[in-house]
Symmetry: C2
Subunit: 338 residues, 2 copies
DNA sequence: TTGTACGCGTTATCAG
DNA sequence: CTGATAACGCGTACAA
């Protein structure tokens, strides 16, 4: 393995000069510069990143923690994260928690031990446990929350998200305005704070409209195709079946539509479906899905941007940043039958 | 920042002992061990990963290069990669090329400069340029190809994939066996070797059956929803419209179905559609999609496994490893109308 | 403008 | 079983 020493020897200069050539070429005389350049070419030298990072004390790496990869909406957010990461010369490491609760200390340690310069928690599950003591007195390590309906325990961290509760309320209200009275809510895993916010919004809209919520109307969709199919089938067997289902994400909505059609019913004629996220598949579903759109890429960009500032130790303004959502009405919703 | 020195001082031992405690605790006497343990707890010490990697000369990082993230099939492959990466204690860095051609030297350099211990090229675009000279004499850096229909230039690298050509031929033959004669093929980007293999299979099946291929039947779907929708709309305007479309991936098939139905036609009654990959959404499409299934997770696992062996410098057996595909017949295919 | 020499935090070698 | 000490490759004061 060729190191800076070899280059120096071949170029007939000191390692300091080679180092300077690499990091501030303008401080090297043209003549010398050429010699070094040639030596680098000849040897095929590439600076050892490990040594360099070690010396500089920076990883140039940021970790994005997601409950699961392969969720179309998160990819869209990651797209945004990537944009600014690339621009700021950071690499992205994705950590999939497989829907498990995460431990703050684990991430704290990652920063501490220089595994990463910063961390983005993308819709991480609660309870997000951490040791108060670790934090007290010390500055928070650079951590930014994204797409999270912030729980009190984490409210101290900077965060970027939509107002999940308001968005869910609007979606439910839209259903109500269409004339629906029996509206089910398909949540993700019950321990996800993200879906908790959405559930709150749903409950709020229902109670505001003085509409009751039957226990049977709270469906566990697990945020997955499979889970949503199962619980939709159960729903269809109910005697007094809801006329609309509000799903906490589009993937579950897709599964719900499939099961409803498979059962010989029609969407939206028999049952209206509304989703959440506006993933790219929503538009080509049959029927095209009414859903709550989140500005995924923008969320990613803002999140990463704030993380960069946090890493640089600059102030990061208001702790939690709310971006706008939007109800996108397509054709999976209609007035209830009859 | 607390270092091993501080711990040593507090524990009243040498740094060597602390290091030993960390790396081979059984070589430390229990008494000493306890002292060190306590010192670590008290100081909150965490070994500096940067220094450790530097010293060991290992990154514990492997880079996965994909043309684009957010492709459901690749996620499934990544799932497999992750499994063994986790087990082998590697971190995964994802590099999105945005469908650009990649430069071998760039990756060669990544290994060389210790940015990563190994590289997985997941369906990377050709031409994959590299400098013959760089390689000659030297061992290949640890690189494994995955989901690639290997072009000659890269045949020297280990690789894991299905037989794209055979799979595509079977799919086309299935359509032919159903009675179709006018069969279109929707390819991805024309510079993707992956879709080239599939196109070959399609052509082969057609010519074997003595069926002509009209130039209009070669559709550019860009592997994307948008691209596929556009080219499907064009297809529907053709005077002598095909009765079946074989799409190089499921996402394009999904878009094609959507456009066909939007135009008032029926799948499979008017046009049969067949996809490729068997992503998780295929089953809930309307109609459920007939497609060529790839064992995505297995591909990922095998790929990563081979990379590990390559990194360890062990022999890696046959250069290219072919895993089985399977035609999954659902309901998007039927005999042609009339 | 260039070179010398030291230090970064670990691990590894070798003596004790 | 433990302790000195030498690397690892690079960046950077400081001296020339």
């Amino acid at each position: 393995m060729v190191s800076i020493k070899d280059v120096a020897k071949i170029a007939g200069v000191s390692i300091a000069t080679v180092s300077r050539y690499l990091n501030s070429p303008d401080q090297v005389r043209e003549n010398t510069r050429n010699k070094v350049e040639k030596a680098i070419k000849d040897t095929g030298y590439a600076p050892n990143t490990l040594a360099r990072n070690f010396r500089r004390g920076k990883t140039h790496m940021i970790v994005v923690v997601v409950p699961s990869i392969g969720i179309p909406f998160f990819e869209a957010v990651m797209e945004g994260i990537w944009h600014v990461a690339e621009e700021q010369d950071y690499s992205i490491l994705v950590r999939d928690t497989r829907y498990n609760t995460v431990d703050f200390d684990e991430f704290s340690k990652m920063i501490f031990s220089k595994e990463a310069d910063g961390i983005i928690l993308l819709s991480t599950l609660s309870p997000f446990t951490y040791d108060e003591q670790v934090l007290s007195g010390r500055k928070h390590p650079p951590i930014v929350l994204s797409c999270e309906s912030v729980t009190s325990e984490m409210s101290q961290f900077p965060s970027v998200r939509i107002d999940n509760e308001a968005a869910a309320r609007e979606a439910t209200q839209y259903l109500i305005s269409l004339g629906h009275k029996k509206i089910a809510f398909m949540k993700g895993r019950s321990d996800s704070t993200l879906t908790q916010g959405r559930e709150q919004g749903y409950r709020r809209a229902m109670s505001d409209a003085k509409l009751p919520i039957e226990p049977d109307w709270l469906l566990e969709g697990q945020m997955s195709l499979e889970g949503a199919r199962r619980s939709t089938r159960k729903l269809l067997h109910q005697s007094d079946r809801p006329t609309a289902v509000f799903c906490a994400n589009d993937e579950m909505a897709m599964a719900a539509i499939h099961e409803i059609k498979t059962a010989g019913l029609k969407v939206p004629d028999d049952i209206s479906i509304i989703g959440f996220d506006d993933i790219r598949f929503s538009e080509v579903m049959d029927p095209p899905l009414t859903t709550v759109a989140q500005p995924a890429e923008e969320i990613g960009e803002r999140t990463m941007y704030r993380l960069c500032r946090a890493i640089e130790g600059k102030e990061i303004g208001q702790a939690t940043e709310t971006v706008p959502h939007k109800l996108v009405v397509r054709r999976s919703t209609a007035p209830p039958p009859g």
